[in-house]
Subunit: 377 residues, 2 copies
Amino acid sequence: MGQLLVKQKIRARAPAPTPKELLPLGQIIPGDCIEAMRTIPDASVDMVFADPPYNLQLGGDLSRPDGSHVDAVTNDWDKFSSFAVYDQFTRDWLTEARRVLKPEGSLWVIGSYHNIFRLGAIMQDMGFWILNDIVWRKANPMPNFKGTRFTNAHETLIWASMGEKSKYTFNYRAMKTLNDELQMRSDWVLPICNGAERLKKGGRKVHPTQKPEALLYRVMLATTNEGDVVLDPFFGTGTTGAVAKRLGREWIGCEREGDYREAALERIEMALPLDERALKTMQSKRTAPKVAFGTLIETGWIAPGTVLSDKKNRFRAVVRADGSLAADKVTGSIHGLGKELQGAPSCNGWTFWHLEHEGQVKPIDAIRQLYILATEP
Amino acid sequence: MGQLLVKQKIRARAPAPTPKELLPLGQIIPGDCIEAMRTIPDASVDMVFADPPYNLQLGGDLSRPDGSHVDAVTNDWDKFSSFAVYDQFTRDWLTEARRVLKPEGSLWVIGSYHNIFRLGAIMQDMGFWILNDIVWRKANPMPNFKGTRFTNAHETLIWASMGEKSKYTFNYRAMKTLNDELQMRSDWVLPICNGAERLKKGGRKVHPTQKPEALLYRVMLATTNEGDVVLDPFFGTGTTGAVAKRLGREWIGCEREGDYREAALERIEMALPLDERALKTMQSKRTAPKVAFGTLIETGWIAPGTVLSDKKNRFRAVVRADGSLAADKVTGSIHGLGKELQGAPSCNGWTFWHLEHEGQVKPIDAIRQLYILATEP
DNA sequence: TATCCAATTGAATCGCACT
DNA sequence: TAGTGCGATTCAATTGGAT
């Protein structure tokens, strides 16, 4: 309420806003996104959400350990000849985005380490004021098949206002409610887009990088109001449009590829306005914190070199730096070594292995419980 | 053992490495980090870990590697100049870091949304090749008291090699062990630095942004080997040094502030190195001593004439005296024949081929493991 | 009908040493 | 330096067929 009043006051002093009738609401403008955005009036849009090409620079083919082939992003639209070319492209579309945004609008971009640092730096150079960087922690990412790096399990979003002193919309209360009455954090755990939500045609995915609706849902619920105009310059198969419709926001898309436009329009046509049941599935599940044995080593709760033993003191093992255990001649994880030594079909290392703690012999699970208690919010 | 031999072979072809006696190991070089790094020889360091200042309103005490002075602009209204000064400072210290790093060394930086995008973009521009961006997801972050944004609950690290084709160290197996036998992901949940670990003097924290040892523990265990030299140009109160000492790595620090240097030295003095047994980690098969299939034939672990088959019993092959396999019409190595028969791009014969052993069907790799265990010193 | 198992798949900068 | 051969390497979710 108070927020609305403030907005009206400011608008009264600013130039008259563009009437919505002059905007291509609910339409996908075909062609290059920069050209397409030029058709939109200055200061007429409340939010821009952009999922630009990542400039992945992939090498040769990649196969899984089972020999199957990984379907990579090889589309032409993700090919740039150099960082300089990518940067110029980025500055060009960001310039148009800045022009069409209202002074109190905000900008979201999403990317991976291939492009997000360039995006963020250019945004700052252009005067955008970063409000948060958000980490989308994928619940089910693709593994690193060759064991050469850490599993690339997240993507990064940047949320920015038009400038340091600019106002912006943040629905704090809605976010806190969505997060079981805890402040919404800058890391969001959400599954990747698959199952029924993933658009397919003839058994093949229509778009290689379709984003999950849950991601856009949270973005829009947090930083726009009902009736706001959301522009997506890289519309793809229209996740932004579908979520905007469900949440009662207006949308405009730009998209070069006819196939994507067609799939998007059909999809948005079918999108249902929000019902409460759907909302519930969007809410973040408070997953019980999983604690690996290695975490207790890293955080100093159990020191490498500590000697563990089973309850009857038949077996002993030394904790090593990486969280593995070393017995006389065998090594392994807390579970694997326990199983091995006992010759049992399986073993829960958390209850099998004990150590002396405060004068008492306790299972290592007790240390894990203490750790969880100490670090829980 | 085998690994050491390989390393020496490579070094023999490269220019002679800097003898460790010429490096200021276990020392904190006082003064400006760029000046301090200049005292370190070219290509002498295995890893640089840097936690540079975040504040973009810098004081006027920055200098370039050539000694010229950087004229800092600190006015609020001139963010663009402020970014330019920060970028120049970043390029300057990264230039020195790049010079002292070995060709197969790697660079870690940590930052927040204020500076990480600039850091990452400049690293890419300088030729560093990003291997991962890592999200440190704070288990207990400070809430956003005003409720104006999302709770800032993470920081970002970037891990990079010297270039696209450069080799680098990644202890895949140790990370997988540390994470309960699942690949280590790019999002790390770790508590912030508090409690006994947080250095305090007169009830006040000594350093405003002391990093948790657990973070450095994982970084170093993952991407350095025992005895490697780690340089931290923004040493602060010495978390990098303390963890390096614990993990049997050498360290060099640079730090301007005398108070931090004093606190760091005292702290590292008290840190206990791990003993040899605890320091060991699980080896990946890639670095483990190699056992050829032929060795198992020669030593009688597998007899010539033994019939191998794949798990589903679709293919069968006979072991020949020289360690090759013979199928119906084709012959080849354990890998080549498996690849051939399946029509796959590649095949690991060790896991593909099975035989009956003690009443169970096991991959031939299991026999190799038994051999390694039995012949280990 | 419920359950289980096998197969498929997702924004991926994915090997190394020798000739 | 490009080519070749050895051999190391995957997690969670979904889908569809078999039990």
